[in-house]
């Protein structure tokens, strides 16, 4: 399954945010979308999901225009992991994850044992099965984020769009989420995620798309796209990109030498 955006314009009527974006996500790929605050990452994602109408160009899944598919048909193909939020009602984590089954249920149907099984399996995959009965509003931000990823897994869509899955997570939880993203790609999921940290692209991205001034300024493998010059141009600060002896590549802003 392949999600494709062609010359996609996104934003709101009378208030365009970006245009001419070409992007494709297929099985086993992890596309990391990088871009400064306000560059329109969330708006682009919502357009990719058909939650906002395209302001130009088109989005298609396996050649079928997204606009021609019913919401349930889209949901069986692409899952959305929004930024972790506090729910308004204290659903249990399991209730929340079971809602991922919506697109597989008829309009008057209620989730049955199979759906609960799928939800529990998703929780187990992410190692949070013990939270099934917990109150979703009272768990930590990192646990909520994992819960939302579990919901996307229960949705059983081959493609997953994640809006800043590491935002507001501590260092350890960020690593946990990135590891899951990598594991899911190995299992064949196609994932597109946005992040503020170029390191994340090196850690789990098969491709990077750099969004700046309403368009993709670069698109390709992390090592080719994330050059110090490009990062400096996009973020407005000088940046080091260094390969460590361990084989990892990391980025750091160049704040000038500091006397120790």
């Amino acid at each position: 399954m392949r999600l494709e955006a062609k010359r996609l314009g996104f934003g709101y009527p009378g208030k365009p945010v970006g245009r001419d974006v070409d992007l494709a996500i297929g099985a086993g790929e992890v596309v990391c979308l990088l871009g400064p605050n306000g560059s329109g990452k969330t708006t682009l994602f919502k357009t990719l999901l058909g939650l906002l109408p395209a302001q130009g160009g088109e989005v298609s899944i396996d050649g079928r225009r997204l606009a021609d598919l019913a919401r349930a048909e889209v949901a069986r193909r692409v899952a959305y992991v929004p930024q972790a939020h506090a729910a308004h009602f204290p659903y249990t984590v399991l209730d929340m994850v079971v809602m991922g089954r919506t697109a597989h249920l008829g309009p008057f149907a209620r989730p049955g044992p199979r759906d609960h099984g799928a939800a529990m399996a998703a929780l187990e995959t992410l190692g949070i099965a013990d939270l099934a009965g917990a109150d979703y509003t009272r768990i930590s931000g990192g646990q909520r984020q994992l819960g939302l990823i579990a919901r996307a897994l229960a949705q059983a869509a081959p493609l997953i769009v994640m809006d800043e899955p590491t935002a507001s997570l501590d260092f350890g939880n960020q690593a946990l989420v990135l590891r899951e993203v990598r594991a899911l790609a190995t299992q064949g999921y196609g994932i597109v995620l946005s992040t503020h940290d170029p390191d994340h692209a090196f850690a789990c991205g098969t491709e990077v798309a750099l969004l700046h001034d309403g368009g993709l300024v670069a698109h390709g493998p992390p090592a080719a796209v994330l050059t110090p010059a490009r990062l400096a141009a996009v973020y407005g600060v000088p940046v080091f990109v260094e390969r460590l002896a361990s084989g990892h590549t990391v980025c750091a802003p160049d704040l000038g030498a500091r006397a120790v």
């Binding site: 919502k46 999901l49 058909g50 939650l51 019913a70 919401r71 349930a72 889209v74 949901a75 069986r76 899952a79 959305y80 929004p82 729910a87 308004h88 009602f89 204290p90 659903y91 249990t92 209730d95 809602m99 991922g100 919506t102 697109a103 249920l105 309009p107 008057f108 149907a109 209620r110 989730p111 509003t137 009272r138 949705q155």
Partner: protein
């Protein structure tokens, strides 16, 4: 009448044994008491179901038919119906149409005010539109026939089950059921809708359409009972809360729990209304007397999350 007499009369009816002549007991039991008991449960259950649906829909545990202006709008429709001397079904229809119009107006106002706390705007819009409906009701009261219509309107506005007749039930039950069926069928999906439009759509729901269906169904339920019982406040706000405390927020279980609590609560309060004083107390006064303090209590603890 004693309990034994009443039970014997019910048994006779059920076994198809029609007494040769209708006794006073029969008349009181089957045309006054039982319709009233049924009406109390119907009204309480319907208001609680509608309240639970509105709360899930607007992702706000503080909304209810009263606060969204539905009760006031449906009330205005019903008063207009009394003013025009319409039959019960006509009163219900007017109550529904104007009730729905009121929700629409409240949502329109809330949607046009941007950049502020949306919940606050929604509640304020409901209060303001409700006040508008109230002023039109007052106008109708001034214009109404002071000997015939005005007492009916006034007593009805206080909310009362005293004037319920068997015929009222036969028209109201089908209308209320028409509202309940979609809510019952869609009750699990209302959970998904309570996550907000974007998430609901991403999960595969046509959120705009589902919301319209739920609003229409909940408003129909409210209007159908407001038309026979007047404005009985607070039930639609407090009972869903109590139900949520008992069974949690999952609408699958919340809806039946809210209906049962609402039905039981209003039956209890109506019994109090009949017996608490020598003159019957309008039930709306009692529900407000209980409901308002409970609402304040909920407001005070709301920062700790909704039970």
């Amino acid at each position: 009448m004693s309990l034994a007499d009443a039970l014997r009369a019910v048994w006779n009816r059920l076994s198809g044994e029609i007494p040769p002549a209708e006794t006073t007991l029969d008349t009181v039991l089957f045309f006054v008491r039982l319709p009233r008991v049924a009406a109390a449960m119907l009204v309480g259950g319907a208001l609680a179901a509608a309240g639970a649906a509105y709360q899930g829909l607007f992702r706000n545990p503080l909304v209810s038919p009263d606060i969204l202006g539905v009760s006031a709008g449906a009330g205005l429709g019903a008063v207009l119906g009394i003013f025009l001397s319409l039959p019960v079904l006509g009163i219900q229809l007017l109550a529904f149409v104007i009730g729905l119009g009121t929700v629409g107006l409240v949502l329109l106002v809330a949607a046009s005010v941007r950049g502020r706390e949306p919940v606050l705007v929604l509640v304020l819009a409901g209060v303001v539109v409700g006040a508008l409906a109230g002023s039109v009701i007052s106008l109708l009261k001034v214009l109404a026939d002071p000997y015939d219509q005005l007492p009916a309107i006034t007593f009805w506005l206080l909310g009362s089950l005293a004037a319920i007749k068997l015929e009222d039930l036969t028209t109201t039950v089908p209308v209320a059921a028409l509202g309940l069926v979609p809510l019952a069928l869609l009750r699990w999906r209302i959970n998904v809708l309570s996550l907000g439009d974007e998430e609901a759509r991403a999960l595969g729901i046509n959120a705009a359409r589902l919301r319209m269906v739920v609003i229409a169904a909940a408003t129909l339920m409210t209007a159908s009972v407001v038309a026979i019982a007047g404005i009985i406040g607070w039930v639609g706000l407090i009972m869903p809360h109590m139900a949520r405390m008992l069974v949690g927020p999952n609408f699958d279980r919340l809806l039946p729990a809210a209906i049962m609590l609402g039905a039981g609560y209003l039956l209890l309060v109506d019994t109090l209304a009949r017996t608490i004083a020598a003159v019957e107390t309008p039930i709306g006064i009692l529900t407000a007397f209980v409901g308002a303090p409970v609402f304040l209590w909920l407001l005070a603890r709301s920062r700790h999350g909704w039970a």
